[in-house]
Structures are given as structure tokens and as C-alpha cells.
């Protein structure tokens, strides 16, 4: 089974520029998550999709971050305009169904963003 695919793996931009990250989850997985992992910290949930609907985006800085999951498969996460503190690894994860207690998340390798 193919894993969670993310691109690009690395991106360096100037502050105030925009950037987009793409995620292709495991085939058939209904739930997709975007996490932000700042260096030295644990991942923090940004947004959770169930099929193509948003379940939780309470931690997403909506003034600059946006995400969509068209047709309930691939997803994109966009940052515009970027700030220095957005430098982090953006992890995408998917799971077979809606989050219920002991559900298993499979993570992609992440997209590392550096904002100069």
C-alpha cells in the first residue's frame, strides 16, 4: 500500500510571500489531517477533513492559512502571506475513518518550510 505523499519536501521563501503544500492520502482513507511541527516540538493540529468537509479548524490561523480537500482525496495547504514564525515542518496524515479514540494515523514525510 502506498503511503501518504507530500510535496514539495523543502521550500524556502521570503516573508510575505505565499506557499502551497500538497498531500495525497492513502487510498480510501476518509480523514485527512494537516499538522504543523516547529523544530523541537510535537506536531500541532491545524485542520482535519472528513471526506471533503472540515471537521476541526480551530487551530488554523485563518488570516493567513487556508486549506481545501477537493473531491475528498488530495488536499492543499496554503500560507499567504508567510511570516518568520511559520518556519516549520508541515505534516499531512490520513486515517481510515473519523477520529475515534484509538484510530491510527499514517503520516507523510512532511514539507519543511523556511521563511527568511
Amino acid at each position: 500500500e502506498a503511503g501518504v505523499a507530500q510535496s514539495p519536501r523543502y521550500k524556502i521563501i521570503e516573508k510575505r510571500q505565499s506557499v502551497a503544500f500538497w498531500c495525497n492520502p492513502i487510498s480510501g482513507h476518509a480523514t485527512l489531517y494537516w499538522y504543523q511541527q516547529i523544530l523541537g516540538q510535537g506536531p500541532k493540529l491545524l485542520i482535519q477533513f472528513q471526506n471533503n468537509g472540515v471537521v476541526d479548524d480551530s487551530q488554523l490561523p485563518k488570516d493567513r492559512f487556508s486549506a481545501e480537500r477537493l473531491k475528498g482525496v488530495d488536499s492543499t495547504l496554503k500560507i499567504q502571506p508567510a511570516k518568520l514564525e511559520d518556519s516549520a515542518v508541515y505534516l499531512c496524515a490520513s486515517s481510515p475513518r473519523d477520529f475515534v479514540g484509538a484510530n491510527v494515523l499514517t503520516f507523510g514525510a512532511g514539507s519543511r518550510l523556511t521563511v527568511l
Partner: protein, 108 residues
Amino acid sequence: TQLLEQSPQFLSIQEGENLTVYCNSSSVFSSLQWYRQEPGEGPVLLVTVVTGGEVKKLKRLTFQFGDARKDSSLHITAAQTGDTGLYLCAGALDNLFFGTGTRLTVIP
């Protein structure tokens, strides 16, 4: 403020030594998971514990969920260089909340 605090934050030990990593919270979780993350990769699930007091073993790794389902520990026996990585606990509430992480380095 982090929901889950892990200690120690960094740990460097010799191959063959034993170690314990702790994950603590004031919240009660329906389940708790442990992940290991290697550089340039996403976290990989090691184990899920569900019942208070539950103990699970995965080869040289022993995971325990606290009786009150607020804390957990990970014990590694006879550490190997392949155990090097970032260990993350994650507690399940309405969603999955990750701990602060413990970076383990095992020196040959």
C-alpha cells in the same frame, strides 16, 4: 501551554543501557499513543494503550498507561543505536494531541 509534557526533553545514553521516558498531563484521555519520528520523516505509530493500568510490550519497549489515564511511560531495555529518534506521546480527546517530545540519542 502543552496538554502533554514529556520528560526528559533530551536523552543521550550508551548502547546497552536502559531508559524511561515519561508523558504527563492533567487531562484524562480515552487512549494514548506513542510514536517514533526519525529525521526527515513523519511520526510512525509504535503502540496504542486504551485501558488504565495497561502494559504493552513491543520487543525491548514496554509501554504503560497510568491507572487514571492521565500519564504514560515508555521503557526501553538494552538500547540500540537504531532506537535513536524523537519519541512522541499523543493523547486522544476530541482529537489527537501530541506531547512535547523526547529526543533520544543512543551512542555506540
